[in-house]
Symmetry: C2
Subunit: 217 residues, 2 copies
């Protein structure tokens, strides 16, 4: 049986739609009353594993799921050995450096050396500031990163920005992008290599559905 | 102004009650419609910082909050420099090793060497298995740790157990405890040292309220 790791939250609905195009009906995971974390498709050919965004690469890299859908931001942060198969186009957002609107900074390079930067994505942030040759002290937070500058704990944050509303609501402004992120179809490398055609037919159907939907999604 | 970091979730209601006994009214954070992360008390003497459980020690250790309430499990996992002031008694749970009911293991020491153990608390788990002299491969998960043994990714898990219902519902059983956990009042060490009496009077009032409530809570 094929196991697909799906991330709870914002990416779930469109992930289910893409797999539907490949003939796999995971719509049961969208039922708000569903409490199960492992759900088979009605056809019995596959099952969905409903996990946290950050856990998708873990299940796929250990081969507990042969396929998975997860944001590029998570892949870049965790650096686990999974194969990136298809850029699904949805879930678009960007990883950005943001500061207080009143701070006057317009580029990341203007931040004072050894200042504090709060982020959920400390690996991505470390890589970015290392490339700038700007030494900063990274503070790892698990949520509500915008509180960093508000409380005065950090000069800046590195966080995902979709609409930019959370930043505006908190008097923050994005000054530089690290990278763009979209949802990706990922695979367990060994399973892909040993595949008898089942996995690749799903991957191809998802790829086709993605191309057909195009940039509109 | 005194800033108190409060953890969202299970500990929030009782945290507010303890501070009420100390004359600080943080009840606004319990309003389900509240979207603010930083709320002053009506008296203007203090403000609450509403953050994730795992972020409380961060805000307190950096001094952005002088006081905070957080579970002992989080303190033990993160090992940040905060002062433990009062054991508040509520939020009781235990950190335990659990395995599949059908596995037959009755003690952690029976687990096969180099088996996989999934946990959100990998530091606590590492310390425990090191003390047992049992080499295991720790798999860090962010949520739904019970999926580890269910999917076959791990032989065991290390997780918080309160009522034990999640374990039972997933066919798992706790076989050994690492430690007991309760909510703790923590303080920023330097703020405590420089305190002119404001902080210590709050700490004493919370301690008194805790002793009065006793083990009943």
């Amino acid at each position: 049986m094929i196991t697909v790791a799906l991330a709870k939250g914002a990416l779930l609905k469109q992930s289910v739609a893409r797999f539907a195009a490949a003939g796999l009906d995971f719509s049961a995971v969208l039922d708000p009353d569903n409490r199960q974390l492992m759900l088979p498709t009605p056809c019995g050919r596959a099952r969905a594993l409903l996990v946290r965004n950050g856990d998708v690469p873990t299940y796929v890299s250990y081969g507990q799921a042969q396929l998975g859908v997860v944001g590029y931001d998570v892949l870049k942060e965790h650096q686990l050995p999974v194969a990136q198969l298809v850029d699904l186009g949805f879930g678009g957002c960007r990883m950005a450096v943001a500061v207080k609107d009143s701070s006057g900074y317009t580029r990341a390079a203007e931040l004072p050396p050894h200042c504090r930067v709060a982020s959920k994505f400390t690996h991505c942030a470390r890589e970015f500031f290392d490339a700038l040759d700007l030494p900063v002290e990274l503070v790892h937070l698990n949520g509500s990163v915008e509180l960093g500058p508000i409380t005065g704990m950090s000069e800046a944050i590195v966080d995902l920005v979709a609409t930019g509303r959370t930043l505006r609501d908190n008097g923050l402004v994005a000054i530089e992008d690290l990278f763009q992120s979209t949802a990706r179809l990922v695979g367990h490398p060994l399973s892909m290599r040993l595949d008898n055609g089942d996995l690749s037919s799903i991957v191809e159907a998802v790829r086709l559905a993605t191309t057909t939907v195009g940039v509109a999604t």
